[in-house]
């Protein structure tokens, strides 16, 4: 195959500097032997400029983001199918709003934050900590601005019940998506527990087990009303943020 023309596939990767060292050397040697080989690289660069002018990056990025959101909504709809029995059409609406376009969706800097969206009837809204909610509301959790690597989301309710939301099963903490708003795979329906529901996002740069956050949450839950306001008692190296939902009386 020494006399062949360097395949376009390899030329593309060579031009980007992404061929492994030996393959790059072989490709360069092959290109040098080829009549008009050097011009092929120049032609590729000219083609880059022409295609970027014809398909401007800003417009393409916007269209990619739009399609991506549409795909995610489809996936979420599938994943949230279980909600159909209880929340019916609201699930799709929640997810559509959760995934509403926003420049921060790709790049977000700052402290990690818990985001909570609520669907009630035909209305879907992003809630602020301290907002009221009631049994039957459909809630979607998300996090943003994660700057540490691992995280767990747990909640404590007014009945002292502790629930693990992320990861989906007890084990190692989830690896966080940094600098991006990330929704949990499932929305869920608030139950009739009285008083409040408080969510905690616990993060660390080191891997840790979800049980560390669960245990701290159980201890806090055992303190009754203190669970509305007090932080989780966690060892050094952890960070936490919380979100309080107050429950309306039925």
């Amino acid at each position: 195959m020494t006399d062949r023309r360097l395949p376009d596939y390899l030329l593309e990767r060579l031009a980007l500097g992404e061929l492994p060292k030996d393959a790059a050397r072989a490709a360069q040697e092959q290109l040098a032997r080829e009549p008009g080989g050097a011009e092929r690289l120049n032609a590729l660069r000219a083609s880059d400029a022409e295609l970027l002018a014809r398909h401007p990056p800003q417009a393409v990025a916007s269209e990619i983001a739009r399609r991506r959101r549409a795909v995610i909504v489809q996936l979420r709809r599938r994943r949230a199918a279980w909600l159909a029995a209880t929340a019916g059409a609201f699930a799709a609406v929640v997810l559509a709003v959760v995934l509403r376009p926003g420049p921060e969706q790709t790049w977000i800097k700052g402290d990690a934050a818990l985001l909570v969206y609520r669907s009630r009837g035909a209305q879907v809204e992003q809630l602020q900590s301290g907002a009221t909610a009631r049994a039957g509301d459909t809630v979607q959790l998300a996090y943003a601005r994660a700057h540490q690597t691992f995280g767990v989301i747990v909640s404590v309710d007014g009945a002292g019940k502790v629930t693990l939301h992320m990861p989906e099963q007890e084990g190692q903490a989830a690896r966080l998506v940094r600098d991006a708003r990330t929704e949990l795979p499932h929305a869920y329906e608030l139950d009739a527990a009285p008083g409040f529901e408080r969510f905690f996002l616990v993060t660390s740069d080191s891997p840790f087990r979800a049980s560390a956050a669960l245990e701290a949450a159980r201890k806090l839950a055992a303190r009754g009303n203190a669970a509305r306001t007090e932080p989780l008692a966690l060892p050094k190296g952890f960070e936490q943020s919380s979100f309080l939902l107050l429950k309306e009386s039925p």
């Binding site: 195959m1 395949p7 376009d8 596939y9 593309e12 990767r13 980007l16 992404e18 393959a23 991506r68």
Partner: protein
């Protein structure tokens, strides 16, 4: 792995578009496919670990275009297109399984789709060794995949 879509496209977009144009032979369909290639990559960006994404993008584009060719089933206009249609038709009658396989490979958990391997070797002209390097398989593994593909489509015997 956080991705700035615009920057990512600026670096890799023209390459992906050329790939889609080569396989689909239609500027509009190619531009449409190119967008979807980036959507596929971004969908799983959390797990994207490769520090040389060009290979992943090219393979994703190849697989996506094969799927589109399979759906379109239009009449080939030349030998290259005929070959592509044969690969697309022969690869795996359960198209979605092939797509899953490629996606899994992209994120380093499985091997490339057989159709992608066939395109790299038969259409692009990569040697078996180069294909093996691109898709992270052994040469014998690549050879076996190509043999299986040929078994599914006897007509490929004439063009390989």
């Amino acid at each position: 792995m956080a991705l700035d879509i615009e920057q990512f496209y600026r670096r890799y977009g023209p390459m992906v578009l050329r790939r889609c144009q080569r396989l689909l032979r239609d500027p509009e369909r190619a531009a449409d496919a190119m967008h979807d290639v980036f959507v596929e990559i971004l969908r799983r960006k959390e797990a994207l670990t490769d520090d040389a994404p060009s290979s992943l993008l090219l393979c994703t584009a190849t697989n996506l275009c094969l799927n589109r060719l399979r759906s379109a089933r239009r009449k080939p206009e030349d030998k290259d297109e005929e070959l592509l249609m044969q690969i697309a038709s022969a690869e795996d009658p359960a198209g979605p399984a092939a797509a899953r396989s490629l996606l899994a490979r992209i994120f380093r958990s499985e091997k490339a789709s057989t159709g992608t391997i066939a395109v790299l070797h038969l259409l692009d002209g990569l040697t078996l060794e180069e294909v093996a390097g691109e898709v992270g398989m052994s040469v014998s593994g690549v050879r076996k995949r190509l043999r299986l593909l040929k078994e599914r489509a006897a007509e490929l015997e004439d063009v390989s």
